[in-house]
């Protein structure tokens, strides 16, 4: 799908460019050819001189337009039939260009009018849709039990980009894998997840210590610690400790909010 649309884009630009080039061609080839022919017809030029200049002009057009395949056709027509040939060549070029423009339009229309079958085919092809039941998808944990090192590395890459707590056992299995690369990537992903939480908790702790009277700071800190607990990354002992700290901070935030709401000013408000 991406490929076909990019093709459309690529075709449209040269088509626009071609019109300007055709005008240039008429100026560069047709005008001098006409002048030459008129000079020859008026006996200002001899036949050998006319032929020499005519062929020279064709060669020059070839050299100048060597990157443009359309020039070949124009030069060939001109060489055979002089200015009349140039006119025929330009006419052919215009016809060819219009045909390619129509094709591009058809392509664009065609993309919009994809049949259901084509849409289904596209969806299957880019894996947005899968055939078969859900049970045909291999659980990630199984990959760590009996997969190849490459499959395990692929799985770890997925876990890294789409981490959810139930995937922690897979990461821990990876830490004990026989393959050193798998162990390293498991450790990297695990450390990455830990670092995200500890960095976040560190920032909130710093903020809470800076402004200890703001209950929102303690609440954020406690919530971050709860998130860390919920990540499944911590050992049982560490979970207990982090949970206890989270409770303390949340309780502190509650107490501060209660105290703030029970002040006479707050009651009045």
């Amino acid at each position: 799908m991406i490929a076909s649309s990019s093709t459309v884009v690529m075709q449209s630009n040269p088509a626009r460019r071609t019109r300007a080039q055709q005008a240039l061609l008429v100026a560069v080839v047709l005008c001098p050819e006409s002048v030459l022919f008129v000079s020859f017809a008026s006996d200002y030029l001899s036949l050998p001189a006319y032929l020499g200049l005519h062929l020279g002009l064709c060669a020059l057009a070839l050299v100048l337009g060597r990157w443009w395949s359309s020039v070949w056709m124009l030069v060939a027509c001109t060489a055979v039939a002089g200015p009349f040939g140039s006119l025929i060549g330009v006419g052919l070029l215009v016809a060819q260009n219009e045909a390619s423009g129509d094709r591009a339009k058809d392509d664009i229309k065609g993309t919009a009018k994809l049949s259901h079958l084509e849409l289904l085919h596209g969806s299957l092809r880019d894996s947005r849709l899968r055939l078969g039941s859900a049970s045909s998808i291999r659980p990630l944990l199984d990959v760590f039990i009996d997969g190849t090192p490459i499959e395990k590395l692929d799985a770890l890459s997925l876990i890294s980009s789409r981490f959810v707590p139930p995937l922690v056992p897979a990461l821990k299995l990876g830490l004990g894998d026989r393959d050193a690369s798998v162990r390293v990537l498991s450790a990297t992903v695990l450390a990455q997840q830990h670092n995200q939480h500890t960095r976040c908790i560190g920032e909130y702790l710093e903020q809470a210590n800076r402004e200890p009277d703001a209950p929102a700071n303690w609440r954020r800190l406690g919530q971050a610690q709860l998130d860390y607990v919920g990540s499944g990354l911590l050992s049982a002992e560490r979970t207990e400790r982090e949970l206890s700290a989270a409770r303390t901070h949340l309780a502190r935030a509650d107490a501060m909010e209660r105290a703030a709401s029970s002040t006479p000013a707050a009651a009045y408000a």
Binding site: S127, R128, V143, V184, A191, L205
Partner: protein
């Protein structure tokens, strides 16, 4: 003191040309330090350095260049000479060139790399023809259909352009004169080595510290800058190709080119050889040469006998790959088992300041301010090795860490993750003359296991002493820098140039108006061919 010359062709011939990607002398790191040590260990051998960079990388030298370095040449991957303006008759050559680039980047290069070199040198065609011309665009459309038909064209285009241009940049670069070319990784460095091997016939050695394709696979696995359509859901295995597969195929292709053209392929430890074999390295080319350290310097460190708190040392940059976070978490657990423990972190923090700040913040979260010390860089690490009781290394990935070898040489037991050759260093291997373990190997990202292993060593004086003794005996046996120096010098001297060495200066692509015939290149002005990026300076 050798002088740096204005043009590589006029420079004196070096004994060895070391080729490095994204490292020495502009970036600090394990491989860069290894290169520095290698050159300093053999002052009678002259070296030329090819540093592969990109234009946005700051060219600030982080090392003092040793006196036996005769020149440094930068190859900038994202800058490539235009070459000759393509004519109509070049269409076939352009199509052929693009096809060859495609084969290399598809991971199955066979002889395509050498054919591409011959094509560009024979025709004078380069970026202007093979990347910027209309026929090249048409040919690239076909490559897109072949490699990533379901992916986004724009992303593919820029990926193709970077990868193809980097190859063109390499195969159009001038080469310094050297008796042996030695790439310190596969990848782009390996491509330069392979290019040098093909055009000069000089021997080419590739040394892999970590396995390049594996490292890139891991990087790409967690890279967020690569477009992922999400079309695969959670399916693994049979799936439409994604953009990261294009990058991976390219890096695999680079490694295969390196392996195919290298005379010798070395690595530091055995486990790496299995990966090299899988990636297509011929078995008869494989050798092991471990890292070397100044054993005498470190063995002379006197252990601190004065009473001091149990001390754990970690040496390394404060970056995610060293997993400093796990070390801090482990220290938190360790403090429950060894309450007066002190944990010292030695290493620069400027490479990833956000991560370093996160680590400091974690120390505060865990209330470890009195236990964990961040010392940054220190003038003499031996002073801290003398005071430490155990060294910890929690890295996610390593090859053969020098810091571990140096600590072990002082008789310090170690607790490391199961990465690189750490297990070999600590536990020995099948034919190891020194039997026994010099510490513990634990699972990565496991603070509990790390803390328990550290506590076991810290709480048992006898065990600690015996592990230290094992390390003291194992390290001089295998990792003495003199032994390693001999191994490299023997390797270099055993390599003879092939019969088809080009004795004339290498001419690259391009002619001033005249086309060159295939296999023959017309003399041209050097200034026109090699822009200022190749100028040498000290």
């Amino acid at each position: 003191m050798p002088e740096f010359l204005a043009h590589t062709h006029d420079a004196v011939e070096a004994d060895i040309c070391l080729i490095v990607e994204g490292g020495y002398p502009y970036v600090l790191g394990g491989v860069a330090s290894w290169m520095d040590a290698l050159m300093r260990a053999s002052p009678h051998v002259t070296f030329h350095i090819i540093a592969i960079t990109i234009s946005s990388q700051p060219k600030v030298r982080k090392f003092d260049i040793p006196a036996n370095v005769v020149g440094i040449l930068d190859i900038v991957l994202d800058v490539s000479p235009a070459g000759d303006r393509p004519a109509y008759k070049d269409r076939q050559h352009i199509e052929q060139g693009v096809r060859l680039l495609q084969e290399i980047l598809s991971g199955n290069p066979d002889s395509c790399f050498t054919k591409l070199i011959d094509l560009t040198r024979g025709t004078g065609l380069a970026q202007a023809a093979l990347l910027d011309s209309k026929p090249a665009w048409t040919a690239m459309e076909q490559v897109y259909q072949d490699l990533l038909v379901d992916g986004p064209l724009v992303d593919f285009f820029w990926t193709w352009r970077f990868l193809a241009r980097s190859i063109l940049s390499i195969i159009t670069a001038p080469l310094p004169k050297a008796r042996v070319f030695h790439a310190v990784s596969t990848g782009y460095a390996g491509l330069v080595g392979a290019y040098a091997r093909h055009v000069t016939g000089r021997p080419y050695v590739v040394t892999e510290h970590g396995i390049y394709t594996n490292e890139r696979r891991i990087e790409l696995g967690v890279a967020s800058w690569i477009f992922d359509s999400g079309a695969n859901g959670f399916a693994v295995g049979e799936k439409p190709r994604q953009l990261r597969d294009v990058w991976l195929s390219a890096f695999t292709g680079f490694s295969r080119v390196s392996y195919a053209l290298a005379d010798v392929i070395t690595t530091q430890y055995r486990a790496n050889q299995n990966y090299q074999l899988v990636d297509g390295a011929p078995e008869h080319k494989l050798r092991i040469i471990p890292n070397g350290i100044d054993v005498d310097l470190y063995a002379g460190v006197k252990r601190c006998t004065e009473p001091h708190p149990p001390t754990v040392l970690m040496i390394g940059r404060i970056v995610p790959i060293k997993d400093t976070r796990t070390f801090i978490m482990a220290t938190s657990l360790l403090r429950e088992l060894v309450p007066d423990v002190v944990a010292i972190l030695i290493g620069p923090e400027e490479e990833d300041p956000a991560y370093a700040a996160g680590c400091r913040s974690l120390v505060a979260q865990l209330g470890l301010e009195a236990t964990v010390q961040f010392l940054g860089r220190v003038p003499d690490v031996k002073e801290y090795l003398a005071r430490a009781d155990v060294i910890a290394l929690t890295s996610i990935s390593e090859a053969q860490p020098i810091a571990l070898l140096e600590a072990a040489a002082t008789g310090l037991p170690a607790v490391t993750t199961d990465v690189g050759s750490c297990r070999e260093i600590i536990e020995g291997f099948a034919d190891d003359p020194v039997v026994g373990r010099g510490g513990f190997v634990v699972e990565a990202c496991n603070p509990k296991a790390t803390a328990e292993a550290l506590a076991t060593i810290l709480l048992d004086d006898e065990l600690r002493a015996s592990m230290g003794q094992i390390m003291l005996r194992r390290i001089p046996n295998l990792y003495h820098k003199e032994r390693i120096r001999h191994l490299y010098e023997e390797l270099y001297s055993s390599l003879e140039p092939s019969a088809r060495v080009e004795t004339k200066p290498i001419r690259a692509l391009g002619t001033a108006g005249r086309r060159s015939l295939l296999g023959k290149v017309w003399p041209v002005s050097k200034d026109r061919l090699f822009p200022a990026r190749y100028a040498l300076e000290r």
